[in-house]
């Protein structure tokens, strides 16, 4: 009777154990991580994967058992994603991010960052000149929620009080957290909006500059220019820099979409998107620092020159960290 058995079934019977072993290893690895496998099992996976792939080829050519082919396709696909999938540990990735990836992404986007800085300065200057000319302009540039009694008609005394006010001391960490999450959302938005051919990101940069310029104008009119500088810059150096980088990341994507160069549009956007994403992760780190400086540092430090010192130091640190030349990146497996 044995000769009546199908060849495709004999084929299956001989290899079935390997497939099932691969499946159980995959289940183990997918459930937790690759670390759940012993060294021996880890070495077995690629071998079993290639064996299953060859089984799949043979089955497609010789077997008419639909369920078997479907099973092998799904098994091989799972194994493929595991064998060629992400490999490096989270710790390695974080180290590579701070050591190389983030500064490299920032350096690659220096042109876009410069454009964003120019747009912000342009907005600030325009708003400054307009508000100096006619204080009514202030309300066109500053969103209602941000005014909080710092409008053009406020007295010098009241304005000074907003700069050196420590009555919020109790909720410093809440303040810092809120500022961080709020700013992070704005920055992510600036990044995401870049997709629409850069225009919204650029507008956001100008709008940011307008608010800044209007504020400065009001305080300078009351002779508080130096003090407001310290109040803004203690965290503003970090925060404005971060927002400009976020805008630059967005513009990179929009520019790749508009001018893909020699690559296809999809490919160009994909490349720009991934490098911009690294930059965005860095922006979130910077905004976290800015949130702490703004929420805690500004409330605790009430002396203008110390505020300036911190602003200068933070600016210097970010610039040297991001733009100073560094050793070329060693070739490591990235995941």
């Amino acid at each position: 009777m044995a000769e009546l058995r199908l060849k495709s079934f004999r084929f299956r019977a001989e290899r079935e154990a390997d497939w099932l072993r691969l499946e159980s290893l995959l289940r183990k690895a997918e459930g937790r991580s690759a670390a759940a496998l012993t060294d021996e099992e880890l070495l077995a996976v690629p071998v079993l994967y290639r064996a299953s792939l060859s089984s799949l080829s043979v089955a497609r050519a010789t077997s008419l058992d639909r369920a078997l082919i479907d099973y092998l396709e799904s098994l091989c696909t799972r194994a493929y994603f595991f064998v060629y999938g992400t490999r490096s540990s989270a710790l390695q990735r974080i180290r590579a991010f701070f050591a190389h990836d983030w500064p490299a992404a920032a350096k690659a986007a220096w042109r876009e960052t410069a454009v964003c800085a120019a747009l912000t300065v342009l907005g600030a200057v325009a708003a400054y000149v307009l508000v100096m000319h006619d204080p009514e302009w202030f309300y066109s540039f500053v969103p209602g929620g941000l005014v909080e009694g710092r409008g053009p008609e406020a007295t010098t005394q009241a304005l000074r009080a907003t700069l050196f006010d420590s009555s919020h001391n109790q909720l410093l960490s809440v303040m810092a957290t809120f500022l961080f999450t709020h700013n992070a959302e704005v920055a992510i938005m600036a990044f995401a909006l870049g997709f629409a051919f850069c225009v919204p990101s650029a507008l956001l940069m100008v709008a940011n500059g307008l608010t800044l310029g209007a504020f400065l104008a009001v305080f300078i009119q009351h002779g508080l220019g130096v003090e407001v500088g310290g109040w803004l810059m203690i965290h503003g150096v970090t925060e404005l820099f971060a927002v400009m980088l976020a805008g630059a990341a967005g513009i990179r994507i929009g520019a790749a979409l508009a001018f893909p160069g020699e690559r296809t549009r999809l490919e160009a956007v994909g490349r720009a998107g991934r490098s911009a994403a690294v930059l965005m992760a860095g922006v979130l780190v910077m905004l976290f620092c800015a949130g702490i400086l703004e929420g805690v540092g500004r409330q605790l430090i009430q002396v203008t020159w110390i505020r300036y010192a911190i602003a200068g130091a933070s600016g210097l640190i970010w610039f040297t960290y991001l733009y100073a030349p560094r050793a070329p990146k060693p070739v490591v497996a990235r995941g």
Binding site: S74, F81, T86
Partner: protein, 314 residues
């Protein structure tokens, strides 16, 4: 009442739609034929995730409120300063928790070996790099940062209560946003904007079980079926069908729905001119015919001759 001989095929539901099938050639040179997730599945997965996130957020809020009340009641002993400090901590935890939930939920789940959020897992989907290479953390970050544009921006437009001029602006905003929301419906690969920017796509990765071979079960019960009659098919009778019909027959035998089995058996008997024996059951007949047809087609396959369906030349 001349129904086409294929009339039972659609009822079985053969997957005929390969609009969503894409090539994925592994470095070993085998094409794995990926199937893309359909827009409906993506939407369902997202809604599941959104429901989970909303549930976590509600739990987090209740926990924070409960903790606040707890602090307020014990605060009398600890003094006002301690009370405020604990309230502060709770508020910070809530703010950060909300931020993390909104931004990290998708990223962290897609960084796991399964490359899928719970919603995607439930629907058997996963994220993959479009070029077939590694799915990098950068790509996952990029595809999820774009969600801000696709999900949260439209929501913020919907949430605003505006006066007339602003209402018009909001309407324009909603129209503009809906371009991004419905983006996946306007391209072949069902890419959302985030997928486009990150160079990823979402594919089906069903986990199939290795099922018993129908031919083998048929072979095992051959002795029992032999009592019902002598299933000896002629060459011409076996040559009536091709591989496509064989696979439909396989489905029928796996499902064993009495109505379908009877209808299919009747159809095949008519086609090959088989006279039913006195105690012959439909299932035994189909099993025997499946075995004979598969043996015939596979032996011809070994000689390099694949008969795709019954319209193919013998």
């Amino acid at each position: 009442m001349a129904r086409g001989p294929d009339a039972w095929a659609p009822a079985i539901g053969q997957p005929a739609d390969n609009r969503f099938e894409r090539e994925l050639v592994t470095p070993e040179g085998v094409d794995l034929r990926l199937r893309l997730a359909e827009a409906s599945e993506r939407a369902a997965a997202f809604l599941l995730d959104a429901a989970i996130m909303a549930g976590i957020l509600i739990a987090l809020t209740l926990l924070a409120i409960g903790a606040m009340i707890g602090v307020a009641s014990t605060g009398a002993i600890a003094g006002a300063g301690g009370k405020e400090a604990s309230a502060e901590v709770i508020l910070v935890i809530w703010l950060l928790g909300f931020f993390l939930l909104r931004n990290a939920y998708f990223i962290l789940f897609e960084l796991t070996p399964k490359a899928a959020t719970p919603g995607k897992r439930a629907l058997g989907l996963r994220v993959a790099a479009r070029n077939g290479g590694r799915l990098t953390a950068d790509a996952i970050f990029a595809r999820n940062a774009m969600r801000e544009l696709e999900v949260f921006l439209p929501l913020s437009f919907l949430a605003t209560r505006a006066n007339q001029v602003d209402a018009w602006l909001d309407l324009l905003g909603i129209v503009w946003c809906s371009i991004f929301v419905f983006f996946p419906l306007f391209n072949r690969d069902r890419l959302r904007v985030g997928d486009l920017v990150a160079g990823t796509w979402v594919v089906k990765s069903p986990q199939r079980k290795l099922m018993a071979d129908v031919a083998e079960t048929a072979f095992a019960s051959r002795a029992a079926f032999a009592a019902q009659g002598d299933f000896d098919f002629t060459q011409a009778q076996v040559d009536a069908y091709g591989a496509k019909e064989l696979q439909v027959l396989e489905e029928v035998l796996r499902r064993t729905e009495a109505g379908t089995v009877a209808a299919v058996a009747e159809r095949i008997r008519g086609k090959i001119g088989w006279t039913r024996g006195p105690i012959e059951s439909d299932y035994a007949f189909l099993d025997a015919y499946y075995l004979a047809l598969r043996a015939r087609l596979e032996s011809r396959l070994l000689f390099g001759r694949r008969r795709r369906d019954k319209y193919d030349k013998v």
